[in-house]
Symmetry: D2
């Protein structure tokens, strides 16, 4: 074999080791994504540094990362020690140098992405292997230690159950700040927040819990306005930025908020909704390194490394260019969806609501749907009619739903607002959506609307 | 192709569908484990029932279980929706019939195992995708709702940081119940528990937090004794049964406890330590269906399905016979380890402590180790000397460590007891251990002890 | 869980079974490709029908498809029996209903593709788990049985070693039919073929071995012209259509040839070169069912199922639309490559040869490269200079190479023609190529040419 | 993280690179097998050295190992170039340094195993990606070149179709040497071989084709006796050692044969039957390096790397100790099977044949089975009755089967002997069998025999 070819093969090996070293030193997401094989090889290399994979190791402890099933072993690439230690979710595990490196690296890559997506001032973040709701609870439990006299959480209403339940789970009393309507859109009620702080006293308030990404016609909360109030009263703000990383608008709001109030400000986001991984992780981030560290230290014990690993694989596979491309596509699909929904709405005598403050979700009225019982049954049926036709993810709001959660009452549940009169349907242009999704949806929606609005039809679920 | 052969092939298909149907109907762990291929095929079949895998589905929501990376998709078998809904960790997800079935099925199989391992009266359980510490926190947060006036958690001391931190994380004040020594062993201090309840008042106490599996010379807590006190004062007991499923003794204690007090009694165990899966899950179980449901309803939002899936794969792969065999092997290895450690201890003039109440861990004194500075440095070094020689999992206790956790002070940290004088080393015979592990460990320990006890050696780490 | 959702999940299952049934009945490639998970699940289902995967099977034969390594088992999806029986490569194996079905199905899908790519009259084909060279040998061995008195194979010269060696391996004496040059292009020498048949006598000739896909400036052989001669003398034609399925031109030639002579006509193609799978398989096809069957019956014993399985996966993954798209893209990249090579050639005072009869490969002269020793060393070096720069697949022809293969001499080896004077370099636009490949290649070629043609440089390999 | 732990992790990496270097230098099978993860990581590392996996590579050839399907890519670990070059199956491919290394390494490991299993004098071998029958054909084609005047192959009869067809496929005329019966056993007819050589003339004979592993009551051929004759007449011997590597007796015969005649002696064995991999490969071995090279050079073109890769994985996974253990187990299971079959035979008034010369297969008479039509139908039915009960691999020989293969007639086909009168059933104790297989088989056989021998039953397939 000629030396030319041997040189090329050796070059390939050297280039590989160089790429790994560069990643570990820079801790930045590569511009161009890696191949699956490269990512998997790196994971296997890291696993080799965990004690359970040492040749000749003998374990006499109660947890030695012994894995019985080869199927399980393989899906975890031999990584079994999880992340964190009893003291801190971000701490290094002595027995698991590989797992620990992977965890730290993933957090660094996520920080890089958050900054590149617009929150330049973000100082620290970590992936927590719990979905957004429980991650909010974790932040609230950390706030309890910070503010031992606090009893209340001021909550700018968003009709999403797990957000509300995260307050209850943490043992706080939620104080609901109803939104104000402005045209079609629902906005943050700054006045009421201010008055409520004064009424209850700042020290009795753990934080103000606001939300960016949400279903229309609610807008992203006015994070900057809230930050000004919060800063003046020295109350922290906790932001539910569930699927906001994918939106430059949400990220811009967060960046601006951070400029006004950075101490103890936290923003939490879902890994699955922003990064196209399975459900199971959230990212806790902030502008204040020591505060983020305090939160990670609140967590007792170790945790699953799967959400981190999924995120690591996905980010490395996309590269920063790949992720930016996805975000860009989403933005243009949002416009496409608006345009096409507008056309369908018009055709059926309905209206696409004006909700400029919501960069992801949109709503179409269902005012002309026949509603013989006045209880919105026929309106509700549209959701399952769409699901039967292979459309998932729409939400139909009747404005008639009363909801009680652990003793608290909500009118017109789902609409974020007691005053909702007109039923509507929401749809979102979220990351990972394709143009084909939009076409199929609009076509199917058109058919369903044609059906339910036909003057002579009453309950038509079966016939169509 | 002759009809004989075709019949056999068809039989094989029918038998396969029969096995699936039987599993879904009976919800019991099969006697004999399944092959990896069978398990994987079943998972793929279940995934096909989730909406993200429907052919022709179009998603217009903000979470559609879109998975970007094929590597991630494959390791999750196409299951991306996680488990639970905003309201309840055990609730079914409309969009994910497959994931929901898998989750329910796994919980049922785990219940079957818990019963077969000795807690016959167990009424319900669920896998929570958080490690033991955070799972204890979740139980404590549920207890807060149950007992809104409670401030304290009575904690029978165990020097394991995440157990202690689980109380702090939940926002309770821990009240430390020091153990009592009885010969070599450390036992539950029932008298002090009783007096403390009387002093603080039962309604101010969220629960008594006890532990079964722990490092020697601590014994498993006297769950029955505590249950009697707890029952008489109407205070719940929460048991940290971290790696106790593998021990018939621990399971027997829990079963007996349940006979005395079943209301609001909870026992929590690790999935990795009992079932040889990667870190990341815990099992919350009890004798009272509605209470277990209340805990699962405390959890806000969805969660990772990975710990459930790992457990499902492992249990199905083992079958009940396979798991019982592992448990049986562990029991006999426990005796083997005791015998061999006893010999090494004697050889070096040390002693294996008498700790009948601890069925998994054991301790050997290190009284003769040269300790020139009186601070136990040389004793401590034994741990890293063993790790360097490929032994993981031993713990060396000097009796000199002072520890402060969020303002609370512990003397002789690691030993569960302020009065510890003699240094010692612990080792455990946990599930998955092999006879070869024991041989290697004992040989290496012998070498290290020979070294550190040599009269003329001072700091000998490098030389050996 | 509402019945709407259950219905959808059940629908998904039914749809899945319907798709499988449809595939097995129609035996046509689906329009739209399947997902990897669907393909894998189908393979696992088929494997379940092989006796080695029957639950409760006991094997007392010498080959029971026992597979030791799980890694090997998984990569074969549990399929271990291979394909074929002692009597016939296409025969069904009694113990392996699943493997046999897969084999038959793959052959049917390939037949469908061959027809859709232009050889409408193709009657039968099968995948043989040997690369093209050995597959040609197999056809020649079948021809030996058909024509027991034959000694010679007439071979329209193509400078590709394994094609030539396939004749020697089969024990025939090759008779080289030199090409005729026509402008830049090298064409089939029909006159010489005719005269040679007459000279040797038709019955002494096993077949005429022609080639479609080849390196420029050789054109695809005149299959129709040869078929007319072959038919008139009753000599079979065997076509080496190595990578011709990807080219509508090659497929058209074959279809037309079949119209003139169908008896015992065979065309052989590579699976890797046409279908982007790893090396290892070839497809033997023809216009005469019984003849193709005779070839498959010539093969003694069973064989690896891997090339079939790879092809099955790839075809199912592409669907007919996917494959047609790839073929279409290749066609337009061929034009793109011509255009860009033409520009580079002109820039350096070289010429892109006119070779209309070659739809895949093209050649650029290297007449101006400094060649101090007159032996073409510097010209040859261009190949390794390009490889060092990450360009693989070019061939540099000096016109000076003498080659001897088992005693037979070839002048200007590599150029298909003794008369080659001007050195040149070939490049191909083959299936799977991307526009990026072309850009990189042209850029790098430009640099290398700039270098080697610089007036003052002699051997410059290191300096650049 | 303490330096102790970092050192351990670095040690683990160093140890890994040391193991790879050692393997590549020594080219011997490791004593102890490697884990699947280690093997897979090594394969991925090798793949990185193939040009298709170079980052930044652009391909402009017609075969660039482009792989469309990720499923296919993964199952081949990124290795797509196959093995061999146009000139030689063992030649290195310039574009594929990794694949080439893997191929060479596998051949070296196999040579190591062959020697360790008893053929110490073996000088060279290679894995050919074709099953045994076609591999024999390849050897015969090489012999044709060596002995251009040869027309015949002397074939010591073995009733296995693909062995016989390998002669026909290669274009030779088989000369059948009938066996001689000696007690129950069938032995090589040395006298007839000698006379036939004299009659036909040595130069007209390509080789003597003998067999070791075969179905009882045939014994392994007398390789040594044949070698003496062959050597004296200067005719090569080709041995079909299909599943003989697993038997020390077969390997001993081969070693002894090699001492008498080494020139142009070849022995061929199946990879699947000896090494528990899927069907698809054979090993060609001999005592004469240059002759084995000639055979590998006969093969035209490249070939699938799958059989090599499967074998590499399996051997590395077993280690030499693992393989020796399997061989040892087989040996003792052979005795166990004999003992138990003897008992069943006696119970039913039948007899286990005395066949000391066959170390793997054994035969039980079926003389008492009711055979109303005298055509052996009922006897034949026993085979499918056993298959229906989950027994695969038995062969039932009626002694009544006439068989014609391409014009040649065989009486009592399946029994290797025209004179077979008593029907019988064979079973084999082959590598990978378990004690459980034997128990199930013997139990099921007992039932079936009880059934077919019951005086009043005629065709009872359904009733039992």
């Amino acid at each position: 074999i000629s030396s030319t070819y041997i040189h090329q093969a050796q070059d390939a090996q050297r280039e590989w080791h160089r790429r790994i070293a560069h990643l570990l030193q820079q801790r930045k997401l590569p511009e161009i994504g890696w191949s699956d094989t490269d990512i998997e090889t790196l994971l296997l290399e890291l696993a080799r540094m965990d004690s359970n994979n040492f040749p000749g190791n003998c374990g006499v402890g109660e947890r030695e990362s012994r894995i019985h099933s080869q199927l399980v072993y393989r899906r975890h690439f031999g990584l079994g020690h999880g992340i964190g230690r009893s003291g801190d979710l971000c701490e290094v595990q002595p027995k698991a140098a590989g797992s620990s490196t992977l965890n730290k690296l993933t957090n660094a890559l996520v920080l890089d992405v958050i900054r590149q997506m617009g929150v330049r001032s973000c100082q620290d973040c970590f992936v927590v292997p719990m979905a957004t709701g429980m991650a909010l609870t974790l932040c609230l439990l950390a706030l309890r230690k910070l503010r031992p006299h606090a009893k209340y959480v001021l909550w700018s209403r968003i009709d999403q159950k797990s957000c509300f339940k995260s307050i209850l789970c943490a043992g706080f009393t939620p104080v609901i700040i109803e939104l104000v309507s402005k045209g079609d859109q629902l906005d943050t009620n700054l006045t009421e927040i201010d008055q409520t702080i004064l009424k209850l006293g700042p020290e009795s308030i753990a934080c103000i819990l606001t939300t960016t990404s949400c279903f229309a016609p609610r807008a992203a909360d006015d994070l900057v306005g809230v930050a000004k109030l919060a800063q003046s009263h020295d109350v922290p703000q906790l932001v539910n930025n569930a699927y906001g990383i994918q939106s430059s608008k949400c990220m811009h709001l967060i960046e601006e908020m951070g400029k006004i109030q950075s101490n103890h400000t936290t923003f939490v986001q879902s890994t699955d909704k922003n990064f196209l991984v399975p459900v199971g992780g959230a990212i806790v981030a902030g502008f204040d390194k020591s505060w983020i560290k305090q939160i990670s230290q609140t967590y007792p014990g170790r945790a699953s490394s799967t959400p981190s690993t999924d995120l690591f694989i996905t980010l490395m596979s996309l590269g920063i260019q790949g992720y930016k491309k996805l975000v860009q596509e989403r933005k243009s699909l949002f416009q496409e969806l608006r345009t096409k929904l507008h056309q369908v709405a018009e055709k059926h005598g309905e209206r696409l609501l004006e909700t400029k403050g919501n960069p992801i979700s949109m709503a179409v009225t269902l005012s002309r749907v026949v509603d013989p019982d006045g209880q919105g049954k026929q309106v509700s049926a549209i959701g399952s009619m769409l699901f039967t036709r292979g459309v998932s993810g729409t939400r139909v709001i009747t404005g008639k739903d009363e909801k009680s959660i652990e003793g608290l009452q909500f009118s017109a549940w789902g609409s974020h607002w007691n005053g909702t009169q007109t039923p509507y349907l929401t749809a979102a242009a979220a990351i990972g959506m394709t143009s084909k999704d939009i076409d199929l949806f609009v076509k199917r929606l058109d058919k369903v609307l044609t059906h339910v609005m036909a003057p002579k039809t009453h309950v038509a679920n079966k016939a169509c």
